[in-house]
């Protein structure tokens, strides 16, 4: 396979369900970078984000939050708060008496310890920023006045702030977990691990660490909840990636029938995983809106978002790998420790990170023997949620550092070591019991290396006294986790399928629903392309509706690069079924056999043996709705179709290789990225610019993790970054231009041949950058294995220590 101009000319060869359908799935629209349907409103300021919503009589809410990391609460006095001008009400946990958020795994007690996250802290404070009480006032200014007036009394406890203090367990975050471990699994332990190490020509050991980050959607979390007496419903308008999960949890915590909760999602300013879990604040606001029978808005401010929002990423991998003299890896033995913070997130639990890492650690390499222990620790830090990549940025760093270290030990080129180990025959079932569908692991590596070589970067590196380094990262990314794959995690809430319903109106325009949830990924455009090709209509006639629990029976939202694989397949199937219905009605009206008609690709159905005989969709819709007496006897009125889709087996793997050239500044230790090349394969590309945008945006976040962003905690559990002064989100001057080459291996078992594209950039960048920095430091004898890389550390290395 070679890099292709997009749109490519091949597509999935898998036979499709028989049926009268327009030109399969690669027609006029799929593969074209059409103007985004989302753009006009977002460019003119006429989008509608949560904080843009104003309702009559609306109040504003905010939270009294913990100022210490770990303490017994001895009293919360809201008397003064309630007396503040503008404050309408204030409640603590005892006032609201809500159910806790509990996320579970179906695993034995020795593997998993369930813990509860109360909506408002009850007896105990577990992190700085934890919500203790909710204050409702006439405007957000008065809310903060009220919060200031609250009096919280507590008895401080020692803070658990890192792996060492957690495992020492002098105090516990949760009584249920006396060792501060929420998940502890030992997996695989395939035969031959110890023997392989005994027989190894080279054994490498690498301890890699990643700092605690914030996914940092630019729009913070927020919610507006109102009571609709006519619908007998709480209307929860919130920026969430998982609207049905919010509905389920609000209903459970408030102990009301789920029917009485409706969740809708307006435009959403990014999520990146942080909004794919259900927060306590949304539930608390729903409770006070229900109690007050008035609309209540809460908009998280940036200080809250940085300190009390869901964080991510802080993990340590102790990796041992055995290699033979030819550079083949023969065994892998890993200890994964993830600092999950104060609580288990819903619905994924604190197990999400170590379970992901443990299952997928062998990455793109043929690893014959594998053993892993994965642990989730609890600590007095803000809890974590999945963040774009979920453990893969970290385990890819671990395995890619192993490859680099082995290359050094063996005196081999690090790309060559990868080449000797990378999976080349598919489907490949790994030692981790995961089956990998076809991809371009080797091809992407070769092309990335050739790109850098052909541009002369190796020569520059050798011919200069500048500190230039070249780094690679080769990885795959499981996308489109279906219910079967998620069930292997043993979650009690198993995401996977998605539903779609399509309706055509009397003008031949369609509205299609999806349980996925656009928040920047351009679903309104890409799903319209899929539908337009299936039905042979212009994308302008397709409107996608998402994010309304009243319109979609159930949906799993958007996370884990699942939208185009699963949701896109569901809308394709629904469209195809609608096409079949159109043909059936048309054949009846044309008085011919059903197999003698087909969609004509131009908004109509044509009679195959007499192409002059044709009915437009408007003609057919006219009958289906307005003259239904003309319908065939066995066809019901209305032009609607539904479909569900679930990826079978282990899902589908996108893959990529990133190549980076960096330069270290000998005066400051600052790292400048001179060149960034990405070669990626996400199967059939629906919209090239959207895929490239996902890659570039992901890479920017990966670079952020590699070089800039971190929230640390001091010994008392006080977070270091409460503002953008301290949390270093990179800007346009820190993020380089990125070239992107596409390879295309269509997925055989998604409807459109597409694989997911949402997370890859973030996964590959940290390892590629770290490897490049180490290459720049190759003469110093120093190897760095932790991110973010502080320029001070680089300077220390360049100067042999200060």
């Amino acid at each position: 396979m070679t890099a292709t101009e997009l749109p490519g000319d091949g597509h999935a060869t898998e036979p499709r369900a028989e049926g009268p359908r327009f030109d399969g799935h690669r027609g006029r629209w799929v593969g074209a970078s059409i103007p985004r349907h989302e753009d006009p409103r977002l460019l003119t300021g006429r989008g509608r984000f949560v904080d843009d919503i104003t309702l009559s009589g609306m109040l504003h809410a905010g939270f009294v939050r913990a100022t210490v990391a770990h303490a017994q609460i001895t009293g919360i006095d809201l008397t003064a708060t309630r007396a503040v001008e503008g404050v309408v009400a204030a409640y603590d946990a005892s006032d609201l008496a809500l159910g806790d958020i509990v996320a579970l795994l179906d695993r034995p007690a020795e593997e998993f310890t369930p813990t509860a996250m109360p909506i408002l802290a009850k007896d105990k404070i577990r992190f700085v920023g934890e919500p203790l009480a909710i204050v409702v006032a006439r405007d957000p200014y008065a809310v903060e006045d009220g919060i200031e007036a609250a009096v919280v009394e507590h008895t401080a406890l020692d803070a658990i702030v890192d792996e060492e203090t957690a495992l020492r367990a002098s105090t516990t975050v949760h009584d249920e977990a006396p060792d501060n471990v929420l998940l502890d699994v030992s997996m695989f332990d395939t035969p031959g691990v110890d023997e392989a190490f005994a027989d190894a020509d080279v054994t490498v050991e690498v301890t890699t660490r990643s700092g605690r980050q914030n996914a940092l959607p630019l729009e913070t979390r927020g919610v507006v909840v109102s009571w609709d007496a006519r619908d007998d419903q709480l209307l929860v308008q919130t920026c969430t990636q998982v609207p049905h999960q919010v509905r389920t949890l609000v209903a459970r915590c408030l102990d009301v029938p789920e029917r009485t909760v409706r969740v809708t999602v307006p435009d959403m300013g990014g999520g990146f995983g942080q909004k794919c879990v259900v927060g306590r604040e949304e539930v608390a606001v729903a409770a006070v809106a229900q109690r007050l029978h008035r609309p209540v808005k809460w908009i998280e401010d940036r200080r809250e978002a940085l300190t009390a929002g869901f964080l991510a990423r802080e993990q340590t991998y102790r990796t041992r790998a055995a290699f033979d003299a030819d550079g083949h890896i023969t065994a892998l033995d890993v200890d994964v420790v993830c600092d999950m913070g104060a609580y288990s997130c819903y619905p994924f639990t604190a197990g999400i990170e170590p379970l992901m890492a443990s299952a997928e650690m062998p990455s793109v390499y043929r690893v014959p023997a594998y053993r892993v222990r994965g642990r989730a620790l609890t600590s007095n830090k803000a809890p974590t949620a999945p963040y774009r990549g979920v453990s893969r940025p970290q385990y890819v760093v671990a395995i890619e550092r192993v490859m680099e270290r082995a290359a050094r030990e063996l005196g081999l080129d690090p790309v060559e070591v990868r080449r000797r180990n990378v999976i080349t025959e598919f489907p490949y079932t790994g030692v981790n019991a995961v089956t990998y569908d076809p991809g371009t692991y080797r091809e992407s590596l070769d092309l990335a290396e050739a790109t850098i070589r052909d541009e002369g970067w190796y020569e520059l590196r050798e011919s200069t006294d500048r500190h230039i380094g070249i780094g690679f990262c080769c990885f795959s990314e499981r996308t489109g986790y279906g219910s079967e794959a998620f069930a292997k995690r043993k979650m009690t809430v198993v995401p996977g399928f998605d539903l779609s319903e399509i309706r055509m109106d009397t003008t031949g325009a369609v509205v299609v629903t999806s349980g996925t949830m656009n928040h920047g990924q351009s679903h309104e455009t890409t799903f319209a392309q899929i539908v337009a090709d299936r039905l042979g209509i212009d994308t302008a006639r397709v409107k996608l509706r998402q994010g309304d629990t009243e319109r979609i029976a159930y949906g799993w939202g958007t996370f884990a690069s699942r939208s185009v694989t699963i949701g896109g397949s569901a809308v394709a199937l629904a469209s195809q079924r609608l096409g079949e219905l159109l043909c059936r009605i048309a054949a009846h009206l044309l008085e011919t056999r059903p197999d003698n008609v087909a969609l004509d690709g131009d908004g109509g159905v044509v009679q195959l043996d007499d192409p002059d005989r044709r009915l437009t969709y408007e003609d057919i819709a006219d009958v289906a709705y307005l003259r239904s007496h003309l319908l065939p006897k066995d066809v019901e009125p209305a032009l609607t179709a539904t479909a569900s889709f679930d990826v079978p087996g282990d899902g589908t793997f996108s893959n990529a290789t990133h190549a980076v050239v960096v330069e270290a500044d000998p005066g400051t230790g600052a790292i400048r990225i001179l060149r960034y090349a990405c070669v990626e394969d996400c199967g059939v590309v629906i919209h090239p610019k959207v895929v490239e945008g996902q890659c570039r945006g992901g890479i920017a976040q990966g670079i952020a993790g590699a070089l800039f962003e971190e929230i640390t905690y001091d010994a008392h559990g006080e977070p270091s970054a409460a503002s953008f002064i301290d949390y270093l989100v990179p800007t346009a001057t820190e993020i380089p231009d990125v070239s992107i080459a596409h390879l295309e291996t269509p997925c055989a078992f998604t409807e459109n041949g597409a694989k997911g594209a949402g997370e890859g950039g973030t996964i590959g960048a940290p390892a590629a950058v770290l490897n490049a920095v180490n290459d720049a430091l190759r003469h110093t004898g120093v190897e760095l294995d932790a991110t973010p890389i502080h320029p001070r550390v680089v300077l220390d290395a360049l100067e042999g220590g200060l």
């Binding site: 970078s33 103007p35 985004r36 989302e38 753009d39 006009p40 977002l42 460019l43 003119t44 300021g45 006429r46 989008g47 509608r48 984000f49 904080d51 843009d52 104003t54 957000p140 200014y141 940092l216 959607p217 630019l218 729009e219 913070t220 435009d267 959403m268 300013g269 990014g270 990146f272 401010d301 940036r302 928040h519 920047g520 990924q521 351009s522 610019k689 959207v690 490239e692 945008g693 570039r696 945006g697 992901g698 890479i699 920017a700 976040q701 503002s723 953008f724 002064i725 989100v729 800007t731 346009a732 001057t733 820190e734 993020i735 231009d737 990125v738 950039g761």
Partner: protein, 162 residues
């Protein structure tokens, strides 16, 4: 203490009078009193730039201006850019170059770019990149935003982007 003030200012060419608490930021007055919600709020401490508007033609953070300080001023927000449903050249360039994903930072970038292009019509791509580093975007990696603004600069000076 804290008495409301009567504030007069011109927003997108329309004279407005609003009664505001002194502590109310210009961002909040634009969004919540005047219902011009295109201006977004991302950090409220002047770093992210989502709230960038033109105040007497200069790009400023609307979260770092008390509305009362804008007495008599002219404010332009993102809502002023398109005309009769037609995108401006800059807005069109953002769409053409896929310079936005979630769209939350976009109004701030558009108003920043208008200020920059007005100030430095001859800006090179690298100068544009440096100027745009005033604002944060979490989705795009910035490249396509720089492309869009550079293309607009070139077309306004009737050049072909190199």
């Amino acid at each position: 203490m804290n008495d409301p003030h009567l504030l007069s200012l011109t927003v997108n060419g329309t004279e407005q009078e609003v009664v505001v608490e002194p502590r109310r930021t210009l961002a909040d007055v634009l969004r919540h009193d005047l219902r011009l919600t295109g201006t977004h709020v991302g950090c409220e401490h002047g770093v992210c730039g989502a709230c960038t508007v033109l105040l007497d033609d200069a790009p400023v953070r609307a979260c770092l201006v008390f509305a009362v300080q804008a007495e008599g001023a002219e404010v332009r927000t993102v809502e002023s850019l398109d005309a009769e449903g037609r995108l401006s050249d800059l807005q069109q360039a953002f769409s053409d170059h896929h310079g936005l994903q979630c769209g939350f930072c976009t109004p701030g970038f558009l108003m920043l770019a208008e200020g920059v292009l007005d100030e430095q019509p001859d800006a090179s791509r690298e100068e544009i990149r440096e100027a745009l580093s005033a604002n944060l975007c979490r989705c795009t990696g910035y490249q396509t935003i720089v492309d869009a603004v550079h293309a607009t600069a070139c077309s306004r000076r009737q050049e072909i982007p190199s």
